[in-house]
């Protein structure tokens, strides 16, 4: 499980205490998967029970320190060496939603696709802005370079994932149009709505830019760093 192994990987660099592990985990992953201190200590207790970490005294401020054991190192090595399982995919809500939307009465599947596409592309825009910042941080070098590189990799994973989703949505729409054209007018699976909608589905879409739209905001600092 990833938190377990994530903590082992951080402890490989030397003994640490709980909240320190939390901070370092979040710097590496840009707080994409936030941890709370409780989860960290629960995980540490389990790792200790399994003999993979051991308590290792206290630091000057009285924090209980944990250190990785040989068993922990073996476990960590095996984790890095083993591929993450992709053969039993987790439930994907979007795939389920589209599967259910095929031929569903009163549902225009193209609307479902478009509203998801807008959301997905917008998420990509946000990730891309964050990526530009991460890239600048990496190119600027500096003491936190290792964290910046890790964060950049995580962000790019998010971008690739959203990109795959956007492409899949385009593909679904194109396929549905092809199928409905082949099947003749009025046939499912594209719901019998006319192909052209004159009313935009977001406010202001056809009236050019939304007047209240802000200009480019100052991006956030590296999230883990803004705390």
């Amino acid at each position: 499980m990833s938190i377990r192994h994530g903590l082992l990987a951080l402890l490989e660099r030397g003994p640490r205490y709980g909240s320190q592990l939390r901070t370092e985990f979040e710097s590496r992953t840009g707080a994409t998967w936030p941890l709370n201190v409780g989860q960290v200590y629960t995980t540490l207790n389990r790792l200790e029970r399994d003999g993979m970490v051991a308590q290792d005294g206290e630091d000057a401020a009285g924090h209980a320190l944990y250190a990785i054991t040989d068993a922990g190192r073996t476990e960590l090595k095996s984790w890095f060496g083993t591929p993450v399982d992709r053969s039993s995919p987790p439930r994907d809500e979007l795939a389920i939603k589209l599967a259910m939307a095929v031929g569903a009465p009163g549902v225009d599947i193209r609307d479902v696709i478009q509203s998801q596409r807008r959301h997905t592309v917008k998420a990509m825009q946000d990730y891309t802005r964050l990526k530009a910042q991460a890239l600048a941080a990496v190119e600027g070098g500096g003491p936190k370079e290792r964290d910046d590189v890790a964060w950049l990799l995580v962000l790019e994973q998010l971008i690739f994932q959203t990109e795959a989703e956007a492409r899949w949505l385009d593909h679904c729409e194109a396929r549905l149009i092809r199928l409905s054209t082949a099947a003749g007018p009025g046939a499912p699976p594209v719901h019998g709505a006319p192909p052209i909608r004159d009313t935009p589905s977001v406010q202001g879409a056809s009236s050019a830019h939304g007047a209240s739209q802000p200009r480019r905001n100052t991006g956030p600092a590296h999230p883990a760093r803004s705390s």
Binding site: E26, G30, A31, T32, P34, N36, V37, Q114, S115, R117, R118, T120, V121, K122, A123, M124, Q125, D126, Y127, T128, R129, L130, A132, Q133, A136, A137, G140, I159, T162, E163, A166, R167, D170, A174, P195, I196, R197, D198, P200, S201, V202, G204, A205, S206, A208, H209, G210, A211, Q213, P214, R215, R216, N217, T218, G219, P220, P223, A224, S226, S227
Partner: protein, 253 residues
């Protein structure tokens, strides 16, 4: 580091480009094709707008009309206060030379001219002395970190370098509007990214841009993504109020 635009209040700005109720019909009668149906779009200084949509949705038609390379059947195109749909040929030609820059997928640069000469060309056509135009071109290239390419001919540059020089040419002098049609089309993804990064930085510096692309990853560099379908704007992304993504809550825990 900040990505703050020099223009913080879009509300008080005039758009560089304004498309109003733009329609374009090709052919007539039974073969009539509505390439665009009543499209409205404003693009402000500092803004990069991506236009996406399936092929045949009107993306390229929109761009060629916005750039004065084609005329709409109805509607208006206003570039920096000039209605180009009502302008005479001479005014239009001057506007195309002075205000609008184009970047296409291919054939951007003139093969017989060096990068600096290519960038200088629109200024020379505009009556600027060759010497001054050359100076401006070299300055533009240097500003975009392309100075080392100044004396190279197009066939001595990679596709990505050529496209970046094309962006420099599109925005040399006082040009503030760049229209890019699939500028990353023939490039690998990393090179495509460098072209987008340059376009983005030019817009951050105050230019207005429209990017037509079918690649969501490149569209994601834009401030706003407009979705066309069958010649009409059906949707667009609205810019985040704050970069709330991946922030905030995490720090509180």
């Amino acid at each position: 580091m900040s990505t703050q635009s020099p223009h913080t209040s879009q509300g008080q700005q005039r758009p560089v480009l304004r498309l109003q109720q733009l329609s374009r019909v090709h052919g007539s009668g039974a073969t009539e094709v509505h390439a665009l149906r009543g499209v409205d779009l404003d693009v402000f200084p500092g803004e990069l707008v991506a236009v996406m949509g399936p092929s045949g949705s009107g993306k390229s038609t929109l761009l060629t009309i916005a750039g004065g390379l084609d005329t709409p059947t109805s509607g208006r195109v206003v570039v920096e206060d000039t209605d180009i749909t009502a302008a005479d040929r001479k005014t239009l030609a001057a506007l195309r030379r002075r205000s609008i820059g184009y970047v296409f997928q291919d054939y951007n640069l003139i093969p017989a001219l060096t990068a600096a000469e290519n960038v200088a060309l629109p200024r020379e056509l505009d009556g600027v002395s060759a010497r001054k135009a050359r100076g401006e071109a070299v300055a533009a290239l240097e500003e975009m970190e392309l100075g080392h390419l100044a004396d190279r001919f197009p066939d001595e540059m990679s596709g990505g370098q050529q496209q970046r020089v094309a962006i420099a040419r599109a925005l040399v002098g006082d040009r503030r509007l760049v229209l890019a049609d699939e500028p990353t089309g023939a490039l690998d993804s990393e090179t495509g990214e460098s072209v987008l990064a340059l376009l983005r930085s030019r817009c951050d510096a105050g230019a207005a841009g429209i990017l037509v692309t079918h690649e969501p990853r490149f569209a994601a560099w834009a401030d706003r993504v407009v979705f066309l379908r069958d010649g009409a704007v059906v949707d667009q992304t609205v810019r985040s109020q704050t970069d709330s993504l991946l922030t905030g809550q995490a720090a509180e825990l």
